[in-house]
């Protein structure tokens, strides 16, 4: 009968091949490759002077050279490892701590939930830049510390999302049915509640990856991240700031790289979320 259509889930690989997913995926893969093996993409040292200062982009130096004659493209490539590993640490801190708090609050309910969520509300009330600056000052400067600081600012968002998902799944019939077939609280949490509530949290993690890169760059730009001459993306833009009028490439081209990577994570996160809805 033609009115009956067998329902099969669309293959995830086909979804990946759509241009809206493919291009961001390629951008991210390139950025990650830069971070893992910068030597494959450029033979130039990021800290050595290789030519006259403040040269415009050319075939030899794609992104031009900076005020001390360092190759900007090489610095961007080597900066990837700083920025991306920083972002990963930041997201990991937020994901693990935030989700743990959120799941604990959502699964237990009552006083524990109230206490945890009020702490989260306090975190949410402090402007994130202020919070991360305070944490960096407490922990000391450096890329890792800046990353942890950025991660702490995203705990609240993860906790709230995880809690709302868990609360929604917890009252569903199949969870009650699982208790009804003799499940223990931990067993039901592990087998039913977590698998059914964490997809949006993973999507948020992908989204946060982009904003973490942005925030770490912000901290770098303000001088709270990696110390010079480390090639970190935020720091690169900060160093080029004095030459905006005469040497635009020092700020614009690293800036474009940051924008592309952030947009790519954003698009990918939406693809994860869309896949969940289907």
């Amino acid at each position: 009968m033609s009115a009956v259509v067998t329902r099969t889930a669309p293959s995830p690989w086909r979804a990946l091949l759509r241009p809206g997913t493919l291009i961001p995926a390629i951008v991210l893969l390139v950025a990650i490759a830069w971070a893992v093996a910068p030597g494959l993409f450029t033979g130039i040292s990021p800290t050595a002077s290789v030519g006259p200062s403040l040269q415009a982009p050319s075939a030899e130096h794609w992104f031009g050279t900076d005020s001390t004659g360092r190759d900007v493209f090489a610095r961007v490539i080597h900066g990837a490892s700083q920025s991306i590993s920083g972002a990963l640490i930041a997201v990991l801190v937020g994901l693990v701590v935030g989700t743990t708090i959120g799941v604990a609050a959502g699964a237990t309910g009552g006083l524990v939930e109230e206490a945890l969520m009020r702490v989260v509300d306090v975190l949410l009330a402090i402007p994130s830049l202020l919070l991360s600056l305070s944490v960096v000052i407490l922990l000391g400067f450096g890329t890792t510390n800046a990353a942890i600081a950025v991660g702490i600012t995203s705990i609240a968002v993860f906790a709230r999302l995880a809690r709302s998902q868990v609360v929604g799944v917890r009252v569903s019939e199949y969870v009650e049915a699982a208790y009804g077939s003799g499940g223990t609280a931990l067993g039901v949490l592990w087998r039913h509640i977590l698998p059914n509530s964490l997809t949006p949290v993973i999507a948020l993690a992908a989204l946060q990856l982009g904003s973490a890169i942005l925030q770490i760059s912000t901290l770098g730009f303000l001088g709270y991240g990696a110390p010079p001459p480390t090639p970190e993306w935020g720091l690169l833009i900060a160093e080029g700031r004095n030459y905006v009028a005469t040497a635009w490439w020092l700020t614009v081209l690293p800036g474009v790289v940051v924008v592309l990577v952030v947009l790519a994570t954003n698009r990918l996160s939406q693809a994860i979320r869309g896949g969940e809805a289907a």
Binding site: M1, R7, N196
Partner: protein
């Protein structure tokens, strides 16, 4: 005879989907005459709602009329072909000539608009400018659909009204401009039987007064039998049988119509069941005494009493039914028996276990081995991420029963018991139909070999033929395994066939209980009489004793 009000001729509708076009309606023809009712009967997925949507030009955006014609014999503009009409023309027709009474009264009213505004909207759209006149007409309409105190109701919001009341408001809105044709898409399937009856009576009366034609879409052959002049039976997008209602029902020509008639619990006996003989003096398996359940409603308000002083006993191997309308406390009672609630007062005993005394999570867990609950909604009670095999073996894993191989054997065995193919084990719930899912839910309850199974409206969400199959399955399992059932239902026709004893609940109080034959054949309480009288299909039962 003159041209009928609505003529649908060889209608074809297809939906564009990700996997190519799906033909939902394939050559349907029907007529609606002025002042008469044509009932379109079929199961879910038969395409009956698609026909309704095509007739009012509100097909989903991926739907397309592929062929055929829909002609409306309109009083102002004469015969109009509705296929391919411009959106502008449609706006002129909808509400004025054709009106729709939607299926779900819960979602069909704008929650932030007052009742008066919702009813008056059609008037305003069609150019009524005088506010005072609109208000007067709205009050008149609300009175017409028998809503008490229309002036107050018009200022209220949908959440302040009950389901039956909201359905009346929707009918009032549909009637606002005195349309020639009303399409009622399952107008009562979300309502209690007594409310269903009053709403259908109301539609009948209004139709007789105004001479409106009614296209009644329903899955319930008994409702159609009571109300319709002409009957069209649909299945899989095609018409199986059509003709005057009386002759179709008296002498059905199509196999499918015969199957529908044979499976409708309100018309015929669908389950053959040996009456269970209970030895005198045997201790009942379940005893409920003075059960009371209150729910807190926040500070400063009286607690809501959901169940008030309910007592009954269920003998081993029999079925006890709890019947009542929504809000009668029947589900609360069932959940209390399955240890899913904390009773405020009273005692429940199942076997040797004092259920109301189960305080710790451990004791409750242990109790689940002997008592299982099956839910109403087969779409919500299975974890969408688990395969059927995982769903079924979970109870065994929870109680550490058997090795891995043993469990696989038990899963295969229980699938066979509920008449499902062994391959089903590898599927996910998404790939199964509603009836198959409900079988899986029953299998999950049976795999622990419980003594007592509580069914909470377990067949209400299913189509009649599937419902009949499940009922037969339940009767067979009870006979084979000696199970005891507590069967919660609002459908008295089903209860009459599957239960031995029954409790009738009204607003938390047990108004009557006893053996099914005694309660149903000689009801003592007015409420029981009302419920029995409201079972649709009475016209047919009288004709076919």
């Amino acid at each position: 005879m003159s041209e009928p009000l609505l003529t649908i001729d060889d209608l074809r509708v297809s939906y564009r989907t990700g996997r190519g076009d799906v033909d939902a309606v394939r050559g349907v023809s029907l007529e609606v005459r002025a002042g008469e009712v044509t009932a379109l009967v079929g199961e879910s997925g038969s395409g009956k709602s698609t026909v309704a949507q095509s007739t009012i030009g509100l097909l989903a955006s991926n739907g397309r009329i592929a062929g055929g014609s829909i002609r409306l014999n309109e009083r102002r503009e004469g015969v109009t072909d509705l296929v391919g009409l411009s959106e502008r023309r449609w706006r002129g027709l909808r509400g004025r000539c054709i009106a729709l009474i939607p299926q779900d009264p819960g979602n069909s009213l704008n929650p932030v608009a007052t009742i008066g505004a919702s009813v008056g909207e059609a008037l305003r759209i069609h150019g009524w400018r005088d506010q005072a006149k609109v208000r007067a007409r709205v009050l008149e309409l609300l009175e017409q659909v028998e809503i008490d105190d229309p002036a107050t109701r018009a200022k209220q919001y949908p959440h302040e009204l009950s389901g039956g009341m909201r359905q009346r408001v929707l009918i009032a809105a549909a009637l606002a401009l005195e349309p020639e044709l009303i399409i009622a898409d399952e107008p009562t399937s979300a309502l209690d039987v007594t409310v269903q009856r009053t709403v259908l009576d109301l539609l009948d009366r209004l139709r007789e007064q105004s001479g409106t034609g009614l296209l009644l879409i329903t899955h319930d052959l008994a409702v159609a039998a009571d109300r319709a002049d002409a009957l069209v039976v649909m299945r899989g997008g095609t018409v199986q049988e059509a003709g005057p209602a009386a002759s179709v029902l008296a002498a059905p020509a199509a196999d499918y119509t015969r199957a529908l008639l044979a499976d409708a619990p309100s018309l015929t006996r669908v389950v053959e069941r040996e009456p269970v003989v209970v030895a005198a003096g045997e201790r009942p398996l379940v005893e409920v005494a003075g059960l009371r359940q209150e729910f807190r409603r926040g500070a400063g308000r009286e607690p809501l009493v959901a169940v008030d002083d309910v007592s009954f006993a269920v003998a081993r191997g029999t079925t006890h039914a709890i019947v009542g309308e929504s809000g009668s406390g029947k589900t609360t009672t069932g959940r209390a028996i399955a240890a899913f609630g904390h009773a405020t007062a009273g005692a429940i005993r199942v076997g040797d276990v004092d259920v109301t005394g189960l305080r710790s999570a451990r004791d409750r867990r242990a109790f689940r081995r002997s008592t299982q609950l099956v839910y109403q909604n087969p779409y919500g009670s299975l974890d969408p991420r688990q395969s059927i095999e995982r769903v079924l073996e979970e109870p065994l894993r929870n109680f550490g029963i058997g090795s891995k191989a043993d469990r696989a054997g038990r899963v295969a065995q229980v699938l066979e018991q509920v008449a499902l193919a062994p391959e089903i084990a590898q599927r996910s719930p998404r790939e199964l139909s509603g009836g198959q899912r409900q079988r899986v839910a029953i299998a999950r309850a049976l795999i622990l070999q419980p003594e007592l199974v509580v069914f909470d409206e377990a067949v209400s969400a299913l189509d009649v033929t599937v419902q009949a199959q499940i009922l037969r399955l339940l009767a067979r399992l009870q006979a084979e395994l000696g199970l005891t059932y507590v069967f919660i239902s609002h459908d008295l026709a089903v209860v009459r066939q599957i239960a031995d004893t029954v409790s009738v609940l009204q607003r938390g109080r047990q108004v009557e209980h006893g053996a099914v034959a005694q309660v149903f054949d000689a009801p003592q309480h007015d409420y029981t009489k009302q419920l029995l009288a409201a079972i649709p299909g009475s016209s047919l039962r009288e004709e076919r004793p």
